[in-house]
């Protein structure tokens, strides 16, 4: 929902970033306000996933220029865990398996890290189990998943639901969903989208990174951005996604190149 007077959650200005010495982000600009849903689309290699990892603070990516201001604070010098407890959440494209750590313990440690960062005491184990039970319903997950190792042996859809469960528990101000819809069948997609929709409030914001317009039938974006060559080259409403779906990317890239020449 667009409200021009709501708080600016994320402000990215002229962001440049390298991986292994190669520049991937080349002057990216983006502003996200509370209550908004943004979709970022683009071809493979346009820098979408790099952008999400840079926001979360992945150590392999080196920011060479620009600012990332999250709720009035420049977060580029923060450690990944500090960004997380400040309210930035990245749902991974490929969630990691962690053998030997139960999902329940992982979620509790993560939840308590957030409480500690807010100066609150750790949650009582029984209270936490009650909270988890309630949040499980957001993604229609069976409680038996809690006692398995994190993502180990989970199907693709189960891993993505587990990401949204973490989002439901940690209640971030900014959630970046990196291709959360890729590889999901339609039932799993509906469950994931329905879960995300339940978590959207006027005080938080969501950035969806996706290849496919289909997701945007279920989570309706306020803005659709097209990324190419490490920056956002055009921005429109949800109808832009439909146009990309029917016409592909070539026309928009051609327009962009023509503009650059002019």
């Amino acid at each position: 929902m667009i409200n021009e007077h709501s708080e600016i959650i994320l402000s990215v200005k002229n962001l440049h970033a390298n991986v292994d010495g190669t520049e991937i982000l080349k002057g990216l600009n983006l502003e996200v306000r509370a209550g908004e849903i943004h979709a970022i689309m683009g071809l493979n290699g346009s820098g979408k996933s790099t952008f999400s990892k840079v926001l979360a603070g992945h150590p392999d990516y080196e920011v060479t220029a620009g600012d990332v201001v999250f709720k009035s604070e420049n977060i580029l010098n923060l450690e990944p865990h500090e960004r997380a407890t400040a309210g930035v959440f990245l749902a991974f494209q490929y969630p990691l398996e962690i053998p030997g750590v139960s999902n329940r313990d992982f979620l509790r440690v993560a939840y308590n890290a957030h409480r500690k960062a807010r100066g609150e005491e750790e949650i009582d184990v029984f209270d936490f189990d009650d909270l988890l039970d309630e949040r499980l319903s957001v993604v229609k997950m069976d409680a038996s998943f809690l006692d398995r190792s994190v993502n180990e042996g989970f199907s693709g859809g189960e891993k993505k639901r587990n990401e949204i469960l973490q989002m439901a528990l940690l209640e971030p101000a900014l959630a970046i969903l990196d291709e959360t819809d890729s590889g999901l069948d339609i039932d799993a997609l509906k469950i994931v989208a329905n879960g995300v929709n339940q978590l959207i409030t006027p005080d938080n914001a969501v950035v969806l990174i996706t290849h496919y317009q289909r997701l945007l039938d279920y989570i309706v974006p306020d803005y659709v951005h097209v990324m190419a060559e490490g920056r956002i080259i055009t921005t429109g409403g949800k109808e832009l996604a439909l146009e990309l779906e029917s016409r592909g990317y070539e026309w928009i890239l051609a327009e962009h190149r023509a503009e650059a020449v002019a």
């Binding site: 979360a56 603070g57 992945h58 450690e79 991974f92 750590v101 992982f106 890290a113």
Partner: protein, 448 residues
């Protein structure tokens, strides 16, 4: 025992031939030390004479022998060990080590000798015999039965096993009659105290047909005094016997710990063992199982967690010579600092051992650039109708796993501890005693 001028003369000799002489001489000295410690009421002349004869063929191990290639004992050659003497320990030092689940079934062995005052054995069922070989040696019937077992397992000629046989001062005996079940897990606490001392704990378990037992062996010492613990445990499982075993080695930082666990399994018997190596300066565990009948189950789980200049070596052997056997082995090591971990796991499946299932996995977690791992999984399979899997991995903590945890608000240091903990718990979870499991887990939690 060599006097110090002899020893200095020996140490001055540089050639290969003289190094062999030096090792021969050192072994002779150790044998003499061990022999001199034998109490008169536990002469066991036949057994010990035979072991001494076997030792005449042996020399003190060097890294030129394949079995000792990665484990160098030459630092021992400059230590003049004296036999450790029977002694006692303050009750207050023992109390924290007593596992609540084993109340009434606790045996305390100090310097290789059963300590009656510290042991508590009131929870044992009728018919089961648990105690000190020296005290039981008056029971002629029992001794007759034991003599067909004591020192009779395969591999008894191995140098340290024979050295123990020549000189053990006492032994813990656990004898379970047919269908005998000890519901209370039994704990044996082996304590070694002294400086430049040799202690040789010995344990003999005989489980008759369809009996069942859970045993914890806990090797414990403190301080960084130089000591040599040379332990041997022989386990005999008769038909359909079930045995669950936890072997914990948490000796002091100056201790050289050499241990042998040998299990002989009759048909339909089951052995589930978990061995944990946290302590000692240098530890070597020879873990061997031999099969005398079909359809045995053997599960070996090992965890080493070492740092600084510690060295931990596990040599295991599972020999299947009958059909329908099952072997499952997992061995994990956490190696930090300048520590060195060695794993050599042999699984032998002979031609007759058809319809067997064998799996072996060795995983190593390297936490420092200076840590070292040598691993050698060895499957020798002759039979053709066999299900078999094996593998070995050496890895560091995965940066992507750490980042994933960090992205959920968990600090990097805590993320690392969580991953190390998870790696270790897969093995510690096999230990059936909750109190022991959590004590050992606590140690992993504090890993930094």
């Amino acid at each position: 025992m060599a006097n110090s001028s002899d020893l200095n003369a020996i140490l001055a000799m540089p050639t290969t031939a003289s190094l062999t002489e030096q090792r021969d001489a050192y072994l002779k000295t150790l044998i003499a030390t061990a022999k001199a410690a034998v109490p008169t009421d536990l002469a066991l002349a036949d057994l010990r004479t035979r072991a001494a004869a076997l030792l005449k063929e042996e020399t003190f191990p060097s890294t030129r022998q394949e079995d000792w290639r990665f484990t160098d004992l030459s630092a021992l050659l400059s230590v003049n060990f004296a036999a450790a003497e029977a002694s006692t320990v303050a009750e207050s030092a023992i109390d924290p080590l007593r596992l609540p689940e084993t109340t009434g079934a606790q045996i305390v062995v100090v310097n290789g000798v059963f300590n009656a005052e510290l042991s508590q054995l009131e929870q044992l069922p009728e018919g089961a015999t648990v105690g000190s070989l020296r005290q039981l040696s008056q029971n002629a019937d029992l001794m007759t039965k034991l003599q067909t077992r004591l020192g009779q397992a395969s591999g008894s000629h191995e140098v340290f096993t024979a050295l123990n046989t020549v000189g053990f001062q006492d032994a813990v005996v656990i004898y379970l009659p047919r269908n005998g079940v000890i519901d209370t897990p039994v704990q044996i606490l082996y304590i070694h105290q002294g400086q430049d001392t040799l202690a040789q704990p010995r344990c003999l378990v005989v489980a008759e047909t369809s009996s069942a037992l859970t045993l914890v062996e806990d090797f414990w010492s403190t301080g960084d005094e130089v000591r040599l613990t040379n332990a041997v445990t022989e386990i005999w499982l008769e038909a359909n016997a079930q045995f669950t075993h936890s072997r914990i080695q948490r000796e002091g930082a100056g201790t050289y710990h050499i241990g042998k666990t040998v299990i002989t399994q009759a048909r339909d018997s089951q052995y589930i063992g978990t061995a944990v190596d946290f302590g000692a300066k240098l530890a070597r565990h020879n873990w061997e199982t031999y099969q005398t009948g079909e359809q045995t189950t053997t599960k070996l789980y090992g965890l080493g967690a070492i740092t600084n200049a510690q060295h931990a070596d596990t040599h295991s052997l599972v020999a299947l010579i009958h059909p329908y056997g099952t072997v499952e082995q997992q061995h994990k090591s956490i190696v930090d600092g300048k520590a060195h971990s060695v794993f050599n796991g042999r699984v032998v499946v002979a031609q007759k051992a058809q319809q067997t299932s064998a799996s072996q996995l060795n995983r190593n977690l390297l936490l420092s650039d200076k840590a070292r791992v040598d691993t050698k999984p060895q499957l020798e399979i002759v039979a053709d109708d066999v299900k078999c899997a094996h593998g070995a991995t050496v890895s560091q903590l995965q940066a992507d796993e750490i980042f994933y945890l960090q992205s959920r608000g968990i600090r990097a240091a805590q993320a690392q501890r969580l991953l190390i903990y998870a790696f270790a718990m897969e093995m510690l979870e096999r230990i059936p005693l909750e109190s022991l499991r959590s004590t050992l887990a606590e140690r992993i939690t504090q890993w930094t």
